[in-house]
């Protein structure tokens, strides 16, 4: 229609179905990672489940269901034209704000945080902050797309406001890790959207200053901005020979497990540290340790290569995107995945502080897996429509 208005003939590519240009390899890589995730979910839990007299497949089966749902969501997201999302961005944003706020009031407290809604069926839980990540990416992309290339300070300020509301709600849960994902996403998107370098420098300095303030207020016994666990986890990374309690216990155990894996690993279901449940949260945030121990450097490298392949494809899609909204969405997803992978794997091998961020597509959890698949689906949709009008 636009072509007719512009009074020019359609090119061949414009006339092709988007399915012709869709990046199937990206989808396959995501599914491959998810399958590895199911296998590792099983490896991390079968022994203790057997020990407790339960079906060893309990956890892995749940994860497989999540992956199934995720794949469907990915396909649907890839089929839908991403440009439609602009119109749903605002209501979705408001809805997720309501959900996050409701969580603080009515959400049950699980593991010291109000991050989950209990669903009345199947015993599943929903984590709105996971969905919030994707919704905020889309909303932010929609908001900044009009200003691509040169962001004035007021635009930047408004974008900051858009971010700060869900971030604060998530911080209050408290869920420091997910909040940090927002920071990373915002940095990536605003950078590509064309924020001026001086603004970026100023914001970075302000962020550092805020962190220092938080810690010093904490040290001076002021109002508690970080709770005990958060502070310990963040500082355990700095001081790894700290008493092997709580935070640095996790760090030490995960490094032992990965280190003991060696080059070839000890084989699926053979990892002693994994089987004896010595690494806490192993089917969850620390799932990479199971892979590291049982498949060694080879397995770890293959997984990292799959992630890298996904990220590179998303990067290419962002470069070739048809419009700023698509590009920024892809960049947002890229930043999200990059930060989560680096942060999660980094914390298990001791180069990042411990924060509760799941490894996308691997860690056990419905909301996270479905969100990751949806994000990949949206990116595929962006890539498939790079020539369409």
């Amino acid at each position: 229609m636009i072509a007719r208005l512009l009074n020019r003939t359609h090119t061949r590519r414009e006339l092709r179905s988007p399915a012709w240009f869709a990046d199937y390899s990206l989808a396959l890589a995501a599914i491959a990672v998810a399958c590895v995730g199911i296998a590792m979910n099983y490896a991390a839990t079968w022994r203790s489940l057997t020990f407790d007299g339960e079906d060893p497949w309990t956890v892995a089966r749940r994860q497989a269901i999540f992956v199934g749902v995720g794949v469907v969501v990915m396909v649907v997201a890839a089929i839908i034209d991403y440009r439609v999302l602009r119109f749903y961005a605002t209501p979705a944003y408001l809805a997720v704000l309501v959900a996050l706020a409701a969580l603080l009031r009515w959400g049950p407290e699980i593991r010291n945080a109000r991050s989950w809604f209990e669903l009345p069926f199947f015993g599943f839980q929903v984590q709105p902050s996971e969905f919030a990540k994707l919704i905020v990416i889309v909303s932010l992309a929609a908001f900044v797309a009009n200003h691509e290339g040169y962001l004035r300070f007021d635009t930047l300020f408004n974008a900051g406001l858009l971010l700060i509301v869900p971030m604060s709600l998530i911080y209050l849960q408290p869920d420091l890790g997910t909040m940090l994902v927002f920071v990373a996403v915002a940095m990536g998107m605003l950078l590509v959207a064309g924020a001026q370098l001086r603004h970026i420098v100023v914001i970075t300095l302000a962020g550092i200053l805020a962190l220092v303030l938080i810690f010093s207020i904490d040290a001076l016994q002021g109002p508690r901005l970080l709770n005990e666990t958060q502070r310990n986890r963040l500082t355990a990374f700095l001081d790894q020979d700290f008493e092997p309690l709580e935070a640095s216990y996790n760090l030490r155990q995960s490094q032992i497990a990965i280190g003991a894996g060696g080059i070839w690993g000890q084989g699926w279901k053979q990892g002693t540290q994994t089987n004896l449940d010595l690494v806490p949260e192993q089917h969850n945030d620390f799932i990479f340790t199971a892979l590291g121990e049982e498949f060694g450097l080879i397995g770890g490298s293959v997984l990292l290569a799959l992630y890298a392949y996904m990220l590179v494809r998303i990067w290419q899609i962002a470069r070739s995107a048809n419009d700023p909204f698509g590009r920024l969405t892809a960049v947002g997803v890229l930043s999200m995945l990059l930060f989560q992978v680096f942060q999660n794997v980094g914390m298990t091998i001791g180069i990042m502080p411990i924060t509760g961020i799941p490894l996308p597509l691997m860690s056990h959890g419905g909301s996270g897996t479905v969100t990751a698949f949806a994000a990949v689906g949206i990116v595929i949709s962006v890539g498939a429509r790079r020539y369409s009008l």
Partner: protein, 757 residues
Amino acid sequence: MDETVRRRMAFLGIVIVGLFGALFTRLWYLQVLETEQFSVAAETNQVRIIITPPTRGRILDRHGVVLADNVRTGVVTIDQSSYTEDQFESVFAQLSDLLDVPESQLIQGLADQRTHPLAPKVVATGLDEDGLLRVAERSIPGVEAKWDWVRTYPQQEVAAHIVGYVGAMSERQHRELIDDGYLPYERVGRAGIEGLFEAELHGEPGRTKLEVDRLDRVQRILADVPPQPGNDVVLSIDVELQAAAESYLRQGLIAARKNVSEDSGFFYPALTGAAVVMDARNGDVLAMASHPTYDPNWMVEGLSLAEYQSVFENPYAPGALNNLAVQGLYSPGSVFKPVTALAGLEAGLISPRAAFHDVGYYSIPEVRGCTGRCTFFNADRAALGTLDLSGALTRSSDAYFYKVADDLYWVDGPEQWAIQDMARSLGFGSPTGVQLPFEKSGRIPDGEVKKTLFELSPEAYNPYNEPPRWFPGDNINTGIGQGLVAVTPVQLANAYATIANGGTLFSPNIVEAVVSREAEAFGEAVLEFEPRVLDVVELPEGSAVVREGLSNVTNSRLRGTAAKAFEGYDHAGYRVSGKTGTAQAQGLNAVLRRKKEDTAVFVAWAPTHDPRYVVAVVMEEAGYGGEAAAPVARRIMEAVRAYEQRWPEPQIAFVPPQPECPEVPEALRGDPAFLGYVPEGCPWGIQLPRANTPADADGDGIPDVDEITGAPQSDMPRRRAALRRHQTRRRAVLRRHEVQRRAALRRHEVQRREASS
């Protein structure tokens, strides 16, 4: 897409590559470079070792009466690390409700500084099964109710100093013993046999190796070594005799306090003393009393400071923890005179039957030249008249031995130190080696010892700044066991045993054996203490006169110094030889702040002509040996006689070694090929001619190779033969001992007859 966006996308790409590079590098570092270190960590990560303490061995007397045992008791422990401060109160409130004891008493247990700070603290003990169940049912976290073994001493004060006690580990022990598998709160032997035989009594702790997961849930038992119980220690003491000795010693001390000292006009303090009963034939210690004493049960659970002070810092029971029989150093006084007499005889300076006129004092002859004190008086300046060696010992003539010591001083040559040499050869001046800790060696003074002491501590030993030369006066004082002579009661008993048995110096044994309690070897001796002969002293000719003199000490007709104490004693049935001693003590009484009263000493053996038991009694600041110590020794001697009747000794009959005859089937008895293997002396055995003897490298009479089958002989017959040889040799040794003993007795008898005729 404008240029800025393009550049920034490129930057984003670089970031991706950089971050993934960092992840891979770190993975490489962990899994390739450091993997060995982590593999080791992974292995230790999952293994827990649980130590089960063994049950401690018991301590028994020579007839099996238990002196130290373990009893089961219910205890409640609290692991402090599982609570915060404010949670304590509710826990204690619950516990005090359950156990019906006040909270303050429970909290006292927490203040226990004697156990490891991280070990669970015992807050209540002595619970019965009901109490344990009541606590266990409630399952309060960190609170554990369990059975525990507690050391107990059923004989209480009896033999307390010998048995010792257990207590919490000291700092140093803690460091050393934890590696040997001790648990931080375990009690270890701190004194006496408990301390000295700790390694034997403790046993081997059990170790269970478990594989656990993060929540310490047991996955697998990798190894399980059960604890090995500690060995029993069998003492050579007899509990009843020990109790008698202790009680007579205590009664003697109390009685002595009713007497008034002629020197000072005060009552004798008579606070401390010691008594030793020894077997003169083999050095076994049958009783060893030390007063004041204590109940080792107090020490097991530990005393509070106030309790400790009231018991162990009581000025009227000083040093209750010390075993004075081996740790107390005393001037022996006149009981040392037989040593001087033997030295004089050895040097040839005494003619035993020569008359000596005791005029009440002895002056160093002027020709010898004398500086300072030249005249030495008898006790009470009594003139005893004409005496020979025997009479000098019987009536304890100081002048006689002043002369002997003075004469010895002026001898030129090695005999000058005859007293010191004789004393040392009788075991004075060095530890006897009895199996008790902290034994003192005592002191036999000579020129060098005096010099060393003067240099070491001039203010204590040389207040008047005399030259550190050995003067005649020094030798004279030494001759009657005064001055710098210091001996322990056990040395006295041991030396008199040597004099009594004709010269065999033993190292006394207070431990007879260490006996296993393991299931397979229950009751087998792990360690046996045979009589330990240190030396055989050649007693000089004329020693019979010394023994004669000692045998008359209890004789009232000959005015022996202990005659009064032995009035009405059954001399005919169980005649006692002995010697009294009244030693001037150096220094001040720490409590009363006046000069110390005399030490009463009495050493004796019985029966006179078949010396079996030696009794030594030392009572500090109790007056005269004949008045204070001799009555105690008499009553102990009567107890010894009762003991002998209670446990009559088996008559040792010599049995010639019998060959062990194998069971040979009747059909084979005439078989010449077989006859060679039947030992000589068996009904169907013959000795093969030497030329036909097959190769027998070990010389046990059994050929190395079976002649018929050609198979090498099994080890068993050889071992049996070795055992047989051993038994034969042992019987021969026993027989030789018995023959020697009887010969010695006969010799003494002859010498005695000669001396009296």
